[in-house]
Amino acid sequence: MAVGSFDFTIAIGGEAGQGIATPGDILARIFVRRGLHLNTYNAYQSIIRGGHIFLYLRVCDEEIYTHGDKLDILMCLNQDTMDRHLQLMRPGSWVLYNEDNIKPGEAGDGVQLCPLPVTKLSVTRNRLSQNTMAVGSAAHLLGLDFQVLEESLTLRFQRQGQAVIDENVSVARAGYDHSVANFEAFDQTVPTGPKPLAVWSGNEALAMGGAAAGVKFYAAYPMSPATGVLHWMAQNARNLGIMVRQVEDEIGVANMVIGAAHTGCRAMCATSGGGFALMTEAVGSAAMMEIPAVFIDVMRAGPSTGVPTKTEQGDLWQVLGASQGDFERFIVAPTTPVDCFNTMPELFNLTDKYQCPGIVVSDLLLSEGRFSIAPDLIDMHPHIDRGELITKGSSTDGYMRYKDTETGISPRALPGLEGYVHVVATDEHDENSQLLSDEFTNPHKRRKMVEKRARKFKVAIEDIKPPELEGPADAEITLIGWGSTYGVIREAVEILAQQGVAVNHLAIKWIVPFHGEAITEILSKSKRVVVVENSFSGQFYRYMRSETGLSVDGHIRKYDGEPFIPHHIVDGVKAHLAEKIECFVPYQEAIT
């Protein structure tokens, strides 16, 4: 990153059902169409009405990777929001609220309280007026032309007709004008980026990456925070010719995906931890039958039902331990939204080549966050390699589905082709897929088949890029993270650099196969190694140690449901530099 010259965060808080999404959306669109980068995080609950929802919209003229550490505008839709967050506002910030029903608290120095007389100014009795009025005011505070907002409102309410547009525009106008007359605006002008950006979530990136990879079959059972993938797929099914099915449960989902994959479809599904628990048996069966298929686990805070709307990196060992026995499968944890997208075609090529399941590990932060993206970074026509796939009938005799080849990879024929009739089986089988138990359970045949399958993975690591160290070689501390913490560690490293603390960063994306040797080599040069994880028990650290034997010097961990923001890591690094501690757990301030 390098925080840009314009770096601004708006937060909107209220309860579920107060319509926080709409003002958020309207503002987001304005910024990205202007070519600015966006990173949003929505702190919400597993309820449809009530509770406390807090949406962060961070906008910047350079690329950003987190929703940041500071708030510039706080839009309070209810008293609760005012009470919880006012104390966090720093000098130079604004607090917008409906003066009719919200009492401001004691604001800190330099915090501008901006009461809106909503009832007085409103042309309508619509209970959502306060939202629109606040948006109008925020537009002024940011120094935006009202016209820009008007365009955005028009687009947003297009489908609801002119009357709704007019109503919203006039309410927003009232807020804007009131703000002009009463509040002091931002002293910077909002810059414009080189070209308009698009918006997506990590889930949409995963879905689109799948579509680009050629997914023809998607099945799901709804589960937060993975449901976004289903919604995107369902919406685009007909356009893209993808069969999308909602199934009775996750067991059905996983097995249906395997059935479709066996007939040649690139097939996938997404769920969260509890649903993935139900899929594990099927994952093992795909490995044994040597059918490629992709399973996504979007982690949320556990254990069990846990905190359905909160983030965590707590499913790593579940994914590693999915299903009984030893078997081959890829496990990958994308690091950014673009990486979510790019991972999919890469993973499908690998699972096709090595004929085994692939598992993607994402989390709520990455999957449900909404981010700007430059459309030209989205390659909808990636390289597709289906490996040794037989797709044409033949009259050759002697086809053996599980032929014991040098690489362990056996040419795979799709059902329906003449000349390749065969059975696949979850029981151990011989090269010709005859069950070992059918005659006599031959230990030598058994050993041969285990080794055949395992051989596939002897070389798979070569198809995967080893992780690379980012930052100065002679850093005081090396931070290691995996998956979604990439962004926050990256930003923390830059902040620390600005503060004169040299830290570097090793981000791990591929879990299986694991580049243990490369990692050991890199870390052997580090002065001090600290692992950053969004879990209580340090699942990644323990896994890394299982594969490398490496011990480290300290940990930064968080398991309260809220994601890391950069200063948590910054504080952690400083704490580790100041004294020898084992584990730093940052205090979650924003919402008490």
Partner: protein, 302 residues
């Protein structure tokens, strides 16, 4: 390697016989097991319908009966215990040109697989489900199954089962199955006819078959059924009438009916999905999006 379409085979069709559907290995079922009759009937019916092995996909779970795909010459999937219908649904939607025949046991299908049974019926997935119902768990050496009768003594119920059995026929009808029949492994000719009808039926067809386990179920033997079975066809049963169908299916005393209980026409799951309209099966389509599709996606995001 790019995905290409399979050559549609234009060679003159030589009529096949049941023998052509014999698999690579001989069944390892106990001598006298009902499943032999079921396998036999399935081989005959596929031959009589003029199907060819590569056009068929058999899908099974785990159990003695679920070993069938290994003994049958066609594409096959021997999947997880209880999951055959889910896998088969995926396979059928992935390649809707395949004749998908699901084979398994009462434990596999009505016990652990019960939820898929309910929902596959409801969705009217176009496949044929052949259940070898021996009212016992055979492969695990004899425990009660969901169709075991009350009082039955097994290794898991040494003092007799206290659970009322499930009736697969009435359950299937109420769950929305569009072809619901019952067969008996001891009457291969009759079973063959039922299977032919089931395979030709468009939608979810169930044939629940009494297929006695000679080793672990001594209550419901071949002889037990032989002396009780009556065929619905012989009585002019109206297969549109779900009420009589259920009523007759409930009998399990001196008279036990076999035959087609119920049939109706309804849209199949695949048939209702416009995505399957371009006749090329999904699994055999060339991968990669076109410009127009891509454009629409990106525009949505702006």
């Amino acid at each position: 390697m790019a995905t290409t379409m399979p050559a549609t085979d234009d060679k003159p069709v030589i009529p096949l016989t049941a023998r052509d559907f014999k698999g690579l290995v001989d069944p390892d079922w106990c001598a006298g097991c009902g499943d032999f009759g079921v396998l036999n009937a399935l081989q005959r019916s596929c031959a009589e319908l003029g199907l060819r092995p590569h056009e068929i996909l058999t899908v099974s779970g785990i159990g003695c009966s679920s070993n069938l795909p290994g003994y049958f010459n066609s594409y096959g999937m021997h999947t997880l215990h209880g999951r055959s219908l889910a896998v088969a649904t995926g396979a059928k939607l992935g390649n809707h040109r395949l004749h998908v025949i699901v084979t398994g046991g009462d434990g596999d299908g009505y016990g652990i697989g019960g939820n898929h049974f309910t929902h596959t019926a409801r969705r009217n997935v176009d496949l044929t489900y052949v259940v070898m119902n021996n009212q016992i768990y055979g492969l695990t050496t004899g425990q009660i199954s969901p169709t075991s009768t009350m009082g039955m003594k097994t290794k898991s119920t040494p003092f007799g089962s206290v659970e009322a059995p499930l009736n697969p026929i009435t359950s299937a009808i109420m769950n929305g199955a569009t072809f619901v029949a019952r067969g008996f492994s001891g009457d291969v000719r009759h079973l063959t006819e039922l299977m032919k009808q089931a395979i030709q039926h468009s939608g979810f067809s169930l044939i629940d078959i009494f297929s006695p386990c000679v080793t672990f179920n001594h209550d419901n033997s071949n002889a037990f059924f032989k002396e009780r079975i009556k065929k619905l066809e012989d009585e002019g049963h109206d297969t549109n009438d779900w009420k009589t169908a259920c009523e007759k299916a409930m009998l399990f005393g001196d008279t036990i009916y076999t035959g087609l209980f119920f049939q109706k026409q309804a849209p199949t799951l695949g048939g209702s999905e416009p995505v399957l309209e371009p006749d090329e099966p999904l699994g055999l389509q060339t991968l990669g999006l076109d410009k127009e599709q891509t454009k629409r996606i990106i525009e949505r995001m702006m």
